[in-house]
């Protein structure tokens, strides 16, 4: 336990002076601002013409009624996509930086098991992503309150908060293959390319009705209203997601332990 504590602390030290943490927090605070702006325009259609592109976008996207139910549902949907990119970026950075900064060789011949280093990195990624999830939801509420969205009830808030938490946490589980790719690709390029590919594929599989069987589409489908044809999650969906996550974790640990570090 003492050893794991030491590796976690070391990982935190590596992060604490980095600007990346603050950039991701800003990014996850900015997205709800944009979403709330869309809803504000929805509430005030007369502003659409004055706001040019943003106004047009807000008019084109059907956001539903400008109430808390639609707003939180929309934020959850957006989180499923933004989470894929944001959490993928975080994971790529935590694992890929050792290669990009050429510091890996300094942490391999130490009296600490490599698996502890990998676990510590995953713990850091989880805490970081949870922080971003909270930032996103908190700023969503703040901006929602500022633009005075109607229809606030505790039941709606609790219901959507639960769905949001489930969606976000399932998205975190999908970080493990990204960690493997950052290690295998020895940097950021391969994992970030993969993240973009998964985002495209998630949209495509959703369109053709295969979303419930594509791991990276599954978190987003959690918030799809019941009865939507072809987009309902089934038990196998959760198995696929769990398998993907466990495989990614195992591959990362095995890679760190056995691959040649040239």
């Amino acid at each position: 336990m003492r050893r794991l504590q030491a590796t976690i602390l070391a990982e935190c030290m590596k992060l604490h002076r980095s600007k990346i943490l603050w950039i991701t927090i800003l990014f996850f605070a900015f997205i709800p601002f944009m979403m709330s702006l869309m809803f504000f325009i929805q509430k005030h259609p007369e502003l659409a013409a004055k706001l040019g592109m943003i106004g047009t976008k807000a008019t084109i996207i059907r956001l539903g009624k400008a109430d808390w139910s639609s707003y939180l549902g929309f934020l959850t949907q957006v989180m499923a996509a933004v989470g894929l990119i944001g959490f993928g970026f975080v994971t790529s950075w935590v694992f890929g930086r050792e290669f990009a900064d050429h510091t890996l060789k300094d942490i391999l011949a130490l009296p600490v098991k490599r698996s502890f280093i990998v676990i510590s990195k995953f713990i850091l990624v989880t805490f970081w992503c949870v922080l971003l999830i909270l930032v996103f939801w908190l700023f969503g509420f703040i901006f929602g309150k500022i633009i005075d969205i109607s229809g606030w009830t505790n039941d709606i808030i609790i219901e959507y908060s639960i769905t949001y938490a489930q969606t976000s946490l399932l998205t975190i589980l999908l970080c493990t293959p990204i960690a493997f790719l950052a290690s295998y690709g020895r940097g950021y390029l391969l994992p970030m390319g993969f993240v973009i590919l998964t985002l495209l594929m998630a949209n495509f599989t959703g369109l053709v009705g295969l979303g419930p069987y594509f791991p990276w589409a599954i978190p987003g489908l959690l918030s799809v209203p019941d009865g939507t044809e072809g987009l309902q999650l089934v038990f196998v969906s959760y198995l696929i997601l769990a398998f993907t996550s466990i495989s990614g974790y195992a591959a990362t640990v095995v890679w760190w332990r056995f691959a040649d570090q040239k």
Binding site: K14, R17, V112
Partner: protein, 307 residues
């Protein structure tokens, strides 16, 4: 067993590329073993195999009699290493980088950081970010990370790269002191024989992945070639006289005569007598010893040439 580091037919192939082939070496306690080779000779691959970073295709490496493998965490407690160009976390200061290593090495004594900072003369840069260090100071930081836990064994890959002459001297003295006075065994790679011969006790020369020669530094003198250079006002006559006396005489590019015969090298006075008696007195007689780099390149050429 006196061998601190031992390899038995250590081999690493990447497809058709034979990075290291059948390498068998041993480093004894308190010895400084210089591992010499050109760039791409297989030095770093060997060092990475010794540190468990690369799995050998065949053969085995032992440190303190224990087989080397990646997660042998007990083994790494007694080893300090520096592999190729030392990099550190760029956004962190010198002290923070050392603090990370202190934690990962489970060193309870926080003053170990100050001690190593003093030892490597990094004091003025303690709070400077690693990305703002000069190459020489980055190298010192790399050495500080390797030495912070007072290791019994040091595995160093070209540790004086980037250091100025004063820095090279200082590191050389420090490593000699560690080996002589503290019994630290040091395996150090380099591509400069002149540099490594000044403090290594034994030298292994690797070329194209193979160990081609192992020599005690004290014996280097005996192995390097010598020649006698001769000049005279009548160089052709001098050449003829010496040839008639059975010497093999060559003419150098500079227009001097060159004799490599043992007799001429050990007794140049006889050559002088010969030439004077034949009314062709020498204007220059000089026994010249090949320098270490020439010896190194010649040794490599004999085993297949420089590629």
């Amino acid at each position: 067993m006196n061998d601190i580091i031992r390899t038995e037919n250590l081999t690493k192939h990447y497809g058709d590329v034979h990075a290291v082939s059948d390498l068998s070496i041993n480093v004894r306690k308190g010895e400084i073993y210089g591992f010499l080779g050109l760039n791409g000779a297989g030095k770093t691959t060997t060092i990475r195999m010794l540190l468990g970073m690369i799995r050998p295709t065949s053969g085995t490496a032992f440190i303190k009699g224990i087989k080397v493998y990646a997660d042998n965490t007990e083994l790494w407690k007694s080893i300090g290493s520096l592999v190729e160009i030392p990099y550190s976390y760029p956004e962190l200061t010198v002290r923070e980088n050392l603090e990370i290593i202190r934690r990962l090495r489970f060193l309870p004594d926080k003053s170990s950081i100050d001690q190593i900072i003093d030892q490597l003369q990094l004091g003025p840069y303690t709070n400077r970010k690693a990305k703002n260090l000069s190459l020489g100071n980055a190298q010192r930081l790399g050495l500080a990370k390797a030495l912070i836990h007072h290791p019994e064994i040091l595995v160093l890959d070209e540790p004086t790269n980037g250091l100025d002459p004063a820095g090279i001297f200082e590191i050389r003295e420090m490593l000699s002191d560690l080996a002589i006075n503290h019994g630290v065994s040091i395996f150090i790679s380099s591509h400069i024989l002149g540099e490594i011969s000044r403090f290594a006790t034994r030298i292994g020369i690797i070329h194209q992945g193979k160990l081609i020669q192992e020599v005690n530094t004290n014996d280097l003198d005996k192995l390097s070639r010598k020649r006698l250079l001769i000049n005279s006002n009548n160089i052709n006559a001098a050449s003829l006289i010496l040839s008639q006396k059975g010497f093999t005489v060559n003419e150098t590019n500079d227009g001097f005569l060159e004799i490599k015969d043992e007799e001429a090298i050990t007794r140049p006075d006889r050559i002088a007598t010969l030439l004077v008696n034949a009314s062709c007195p020498p204007t220059l007689l000089q026994v010249e010893e090949e320098d270490l780099e020439t010896y190194f390149l010649r040794t490599i050429e004999m085993s297949g040439g420089v590629k």
